[in-house]
């Protein structure tokens, strides 16, 4: 509708390889960038900014899981556990050694990646269900270890208080500063993933997902690339865990229970497996869902339910909707929100002359 794809000639390899080869793509990305970096923070009140912060964290985590599940086809039900590894590593480094954020964030990621590789080692022998159960076991074992090792968990109630990050001598204690901080990481994660999946490594991942025996035959070292996938995915998870810790100012293992792993699985499925944009959609959708339900229940819930049990009903309603949505998307639209978006876009690409 707004643009035609004809008439743009790519005369260099660089032009052909660009992330957004068409001007309309570049313009829309710039527009979204301006919207979220300039306009939204100016006009939104702190409550909605805090939701955007959560979305930014969720984007990082969801991208990590999508690399593993959507691109490499290895299921993990232990994503939240890797997040907790990152969170506690960083929390200990920050409180005990006084490390700044630019050291704490990557080291949390690297620690999570190391544990992720450890969990990924069985993935050569086992797959599908067996891998799902092995990662589920990893979730429980990591949870238990953190909870029962005072050296990691800080002892009292397994939680460590963490000071706000300091960037260029400025303590980020306002919501809007934190928003920019987290958004920066989300953007880095998005760009890194977009480039990763079209690199040699990313293509190897996709080959393994589609048929791992065939991938091995054409010369991909399946074991090594599966471990890469686990490492990269857990690195993202670790970083998301550190960011969440910074956001909450506390590292607490209860923020990283198996329910959170399932939230991330839901993000990736609802958003769209094997798509960067899908992870973003999924992160937004799953983070907003409880907010929308809460607002709805606050407004209309009193008509249907006793106010005493309203909070409980809201939580239960969220779970029901959540499970139903996962099943719905898997049965009806396996490619998720990303496919819906593509359908809309393709419809309007040739609109109104669609013949």
């Amino acid at each position: 509708m707004f643009h035609r794809e004809s008439g743009y000639y790519k005369t260099t390899y660089k032009g052909d390889m660009a992330l957004y080869p068409l001007p309309v793509g570049r313009w829309s990305v710039a527009l979204i960038g301006v919207l979220f970096l300039v306009i939204v923070p100016l006009f939104l009140d702190p409550y909605y900014l805090s939701i955007l912060c959560l979305i930014a964290i969720a984007i990082v985590g969801a991208l990590g899981l999508n690399i593993l599940l959507g691109y490499t086809g290895q299921i993990s039900i232990g994503h939240a556990a890797f997040m907790s590894v990152g969170a506690y590593t960083a929390a200990n480094l920050i409180t005990k050694l006084d490390w700044p954020f630019w050291l704490a964030v990557p080291s949390g990621g690297i620690m999570a990646a190391a544990i992720g590789v450890l969990v990924g080692i069985p993935s050569l022998r086992i797959k599908g269900l067996y891998l799902a159960i092995a990662t589920l076991a990893a979730q429980f074992i990591i949870e238990w270890v953190i909870n029962h090792t005072p050296a990691i968990s800080g002892g009292v109630q397994a939680s460590i208080e963490v000071p706000r990050p300091v960037v260029f001598g400025e303590t980020l204690d306002r919501e809007i500063e934190l928003y920019y901080f987290l958004m920066a990481f989300a953007v880095i994660a998005i760009v890194a993933t977009m480039n990763l999946v079209r690199s040699r490594v990313g293509r190897a991942f996709i080959a393994i997902r589609d048929q791992d025996i065939a991938a091995e035959i054409i010369g991909i070292n399946v074991f090594r690339y599966k471990l890469y996938a686990f490492a990269i995915s857990s690195f993202y998870a670790g970083v998301a865990g550190v960011l969440y810790t910074y956001y909450l100012s506390i590292a607490n293992y209860e923020q990283f229970l198996i329910v959170v792993s399932i939230d991330y699985l839901a993000m990736v499925i609802i958003g769209g497996l094997g798509s960067v944009l899908g992870s973003v959609f999924g992160a937004i959708f799953v983070t907003l869902l409880p907010v929308v339900i809460r607002i709805f229940m606050d407004t209309f819930g009193a008509f249907f339910f006793d106010p005493v049990i309203l909070a409980q009903v809201t939580a239960q309603f969220r779970l029901i909707l959540f499970g139903a949505l996962i099943m719905f998307f898997l049965v009806v639209e396996p490619e998720g929100l990303n496919r819906l978006w593509l359908n809309i876009r393709n419809y309007f690409r040739i609109w109104p002359f669609s013949y």
Binding site: I141, W144, H148, I213, I217, F317, I320
Partner: protein
Amino acid sequence: MADFHWGFFLELVVSGVLIGLMYSLIALGFVLIYKSTDAINFAQGEFVMIAGIIVGACMASYGLPLWLAIALSVGFMVVFNVGLERTVLRPMIGRPIVAIIMATIGLAALLRGAGPFFFGSGTRALNLPIDDAPIIIGDHFIYLNPIHLLGAVAAVLFLLGFGWFFLKSRKGVAMRAVADSHQVSMAMGINVQRYFALAWVMAGVVAALGGVIWGSLLGVDTQLAVIGLKVFPVVILGGLDSIVGVIVGGIIVGVVENLAAGYLDPMVGGGTKDFTPYVLMILMLMFKPYGLFGKPIIERI
């Protein structure tokens, strides 16, 4: 160990075996579905929970007698599972296994929300009409919980029944054929879809029974679903598609976690019960991924 008491050890082992058999009962539902439809059910614990909640709600809120409550619960599970098979699992036949796993994870979330949503979220007691004074055996004072005993007996009966069903009965043989190859069984004139539904129905019935037994032990609320997490070590240890494996795996898990709770907990401060079965399971996955009695799968392009 200076203060090693044989009586204590024996008690742990015996009650471990009984609890293990009750785990087997729940794991049986999982294996039934896997064996015949190749689908992985991560919501088995939630089935048990919802069945237990229905029995509890029928008895507490509507004052129905126990047998009627159980019958209603079984009926609900049958209808629900047939509907589930129709609407969710059947369209997903032939899709990657990961997709089916995630669908049942979604189902688990849905049931966890729906149970308390429709039946109230308080914990209800589910009292079976049996004396719950512990049974004392021998002069070593081994205490047995009669509910454990009842659960174990029911589990063994069910397991024997299903063993007979799969080995001897016509329907059971057809079901194994369906599990082996959908296409070949169709060519042999077996109505594959009907057997899929039958498998889910049987899993629902087993779950309802498990819900009654575990519910009477632990009380009925959403926490009952946590039992489902014990299913995985059991089936991995025993082998995914073996009924004998379910029994053996269940007993191993029950005994190991009881011994861990008895001997390791005082040393490390609790919680070993929940994760020792998983450690055992990971060791099994590393050395013998198809379990003690499972059938290895050979993969071709």
